[in-house]
């Protein structure tokens, strides 16, 4: 985009490509560029050099209202309960390890509940993370009732006066009705034990996912009410542009980004940082 270049169709083509290749999606891209066309006309802009800052601001303004780090203040004098959900392999278990560590490092007392009783070695995997984080680990045997584990994790936190509970659930495709029902049951049983719990229902999305992420967010939101999104694997080459459409359609708070496989590779979501990376 050299200065002095005019605003021609080729320019809009290039912008379209940048947005689509970032997984913003064809429809959201179309709306964004339409908005840019109106704005440049309105402001009488003619230099192509002005268009990128305009577009970056446009995307940032869509995301910024939903920039909302995870705060654990809303639980009164009981533990703050976070239920972590999402489709298979997105990074739920690893994100819990990172989150548990973040809070134990702040001197908080954390319980981690192994409610993925289905997948091979899921409990073992989470236990290693929980130990690394210095959290108290609650598990049953493999094949046990996930709701029972979640219940016990909350009870343990109440008994020991712990600050936080993280409940890990098995990955599941949003298309599987019975598995979505299982999630609703976990939520119900936890809520029965501790009113207003789970205080956070955190949906983990994989930044490499394409347009299906919108369907995932929509479906999990309809089923359970998602209160926060964590976008994992942003350390790859995928830009995670699907959160633009998700923000526009569902308005779910954007909490966290995962930027690696280490226990400290977790950052708060910042619209400016995200937009910088999107257009880099």
């Amino acid at each position: 985009l050299r200065p002095g270049r005019g605003m021609d169709e080729a320019l809009y083509q290039e912008l379209e490509e940048v947005l689509i290749v970032a997984d913003v999606g064809a429809e959201a891209t179309r709306r964004l560029l339409e908005g840019i066309r109106r704005e440049t006309k309105k402001q009488g802009m003619t230099d192509a050099h002005d268009i990128l800052p305009l577009l970056r601001r446009e995307v940032s303004e869509i995301l910024r209202p939903y920039e909302a780090p995870l705060s654990i203040k809303g639980a009164g004098d009981g533990p703050f309960v976070v239920m972590v959900i999402g489709v298979n392999g997105v990074g739920k278990t690893t994100t819990i390890g990172k989150l548990a560590y973040r809070f134990t490092s702040q001197g908080k007392k954390v319980v981690v509940g192994a409610a993925d009783t289905f997948r091979a070695a899921a409990i073992e995997q989470l236990e290693i993370w929980s130990d690394r984080a210095g959290a108290h680990f609650v598990k049953h045997g493999s094949g046990a009732d996930p709701s029972a584990v979640a219940f016990d994790a909350v009870k343990a936190a109440q008994a020991k006066q712990y600050d936080l509970v993280f409940i890990d659930t098995a990955g599941r495709l949003h298309t599987k009705e019975n598995l979505m029902e299982e999630l609703k049951r976990i939520k119900r049983i936890v809520g029965r034990e501790l009113p207003h719990a789970p205080h956070e229902i955190l949906l983990v999305l994989d930044a490499t996912t394409g347009q299906n992420a919108i369907v995932q967010a929509r479906t999990f939101h309809q089923a359970l009410g998602v209160t926060g999104i964590a976008l994992a694997k942003l350390d790859g080459t995928a830009k995670g542009g699907i959160i633009v459409a998700i923000a526009q359609e569902l308005g779910i708070p954007l909490r966290l980004v995962g930027v690696g496989e280490g226990i400290e590779d977790l950052q708060d979501f910042f619209a400016e940082v995200f937009v910088d990376a999107l257009f880099s």
């Binding site: 490509e17 689509i20 290749v21 970032a22 997984d23 999606g25 064809a26 429809e27 489709v87 298979n88 392999g89 997105v90 990074g91 289905f118 997948r119 091979a120 070695a121 073992e124 995997q125 290693i128 993370w129 495709l173 949003h174 298309t175 994989d206 490499t208 996912t209 394409g210 347009q211 299906n212 992420a213 369907v215 694997k233 350390d235 790859g236 080459t237 995928a238 830009k239 699907i242 496989e261």
Partner: protein, 294 residues
């Protein structure tokens, strides 16, 4: 659906002789949109539409197909060809025993689960004696995960020593396989980013030592535009011989399949259609083409 959208495009086209250039451009605009919504990569779509335009030029609108149906037929056929229609996508199992197969891919794509499924398939459908080999020393309980899958299948799984690295594993397993008479070795490697220089170097070193007959890229069907980068990264580093697409039991359209195929020019051999170890099928290009078009 695409058919409905194309019917809209062609509403005004009643019984004309040929598809005009304008008709084709209008129709392919809808097809382009459908492919982008299906996560096919931007550049792959561009090339595809150009090719489809050539194929559609001057086609006769006949009584047996509406213009919309004709365009779909052309596009569908082109997609099937690109997805590997007519190509031999079987596993390469000829050669000196034991035959090593290496599974590679991004984090969480389904490699470990796929290793289990592949082992079961080789034993039950191909009457082979597979050996599961965990070569992921990084992910917590990764070895445990593969061992458990082996147990549920009744298939032997190698146990690395604590701290053993993948190269040592390759060397040790080679000896063991000969003694224990396994004819196929399935190496499950750690998930890694194609831009992680160190880990891609490890993968090259593993390949060098192992000399695998098959290097299968395990890719998630819901992958978006990034699929081309991943495919190129792994293919440039170690050379992919085949692709396995996982999580097709979801509702992702799976356009990544076309992107990966376009970049690697390698066959998609199998698909994962569930979490259970029998949720495994040979890949069907025609079914995939329909799914992507939506």
């Amino acid at each position: 659906t695409l058919t409905e959208r194309l019917d809209q495009v062609f509403k005004k086209l009643k019984g004309r002789g040929k598809l005009t250039e304008k008709d084709i451009k209008d129709a392919l605009r809808e097809v382009r949109l459908a492919l982008l919504e299906a996560d096919v990569n931007y550049t792959v779509v561009k090339d595809f539409i150009a090719r489809a335009e050539e194929k559609a030029a001057g086609q006769e609108v006949t009584k047996s197909l509406t213009p919309a149906q004709l365009v779909i037929k052309i596009v569908h056929q082109e997609l099937i060809t690109l997805m590997g229609g007519g190509e031999n996508n079987s596993l390469k199992l000829s050669g000196p025993s034991p035959i090593p197969i290496m599974l590679v891919g991004l984090q969480g794509s389904g490699k470990t689960t796929t290793a289990g499924k592949l082992a079961g398939y080789l034993r039950d459908n191909k009457k082979r004696r597979p050996y599961l080999v965990p070569a992921d020393p990084y992910r917590p309980a990764a070895i445990e995960q593969l061992k458990k899958l082996g147990e549920s299948l009744g298939i032997d799984c190698y146990t690395p020593a604590s701290g053993e690295d993948p190269l040592q594993t390759v060397a040790k397993v080679r000896e063991q396989a000969r003694e224990k008479d396994f004819d196929t070795l399935i190496f499950d490697t750690a998930g890694r980013l194609h831009i992680d220089e160190e880990l891609m170097e490890e993968l090259r070193a593993i390949k060098e030592l192992m000399n695998p007959q098959e290097i299968l890229l395990v890719a998630d069907a819901m992958t978006g535009q990034d699929a081309v980068n991943v495919a190129k990264g792994f293919n440039d580093a170690v050379g992919i011989t085949g692709i396995i697409l996982t999580k097709l039991d979801g509702d992702a359209r799976g356009g990544a399949a076309l992107s990966i195929k376009a970049v690697t020019q390698r066959p998609i051999k199998f698909v994962g259609i569930g979490e259970k170890l029998d949720a495994w099928e040979v890949f069907h290009p025609d079914r995939m083409a329909s799914r992507i078009l939506g």
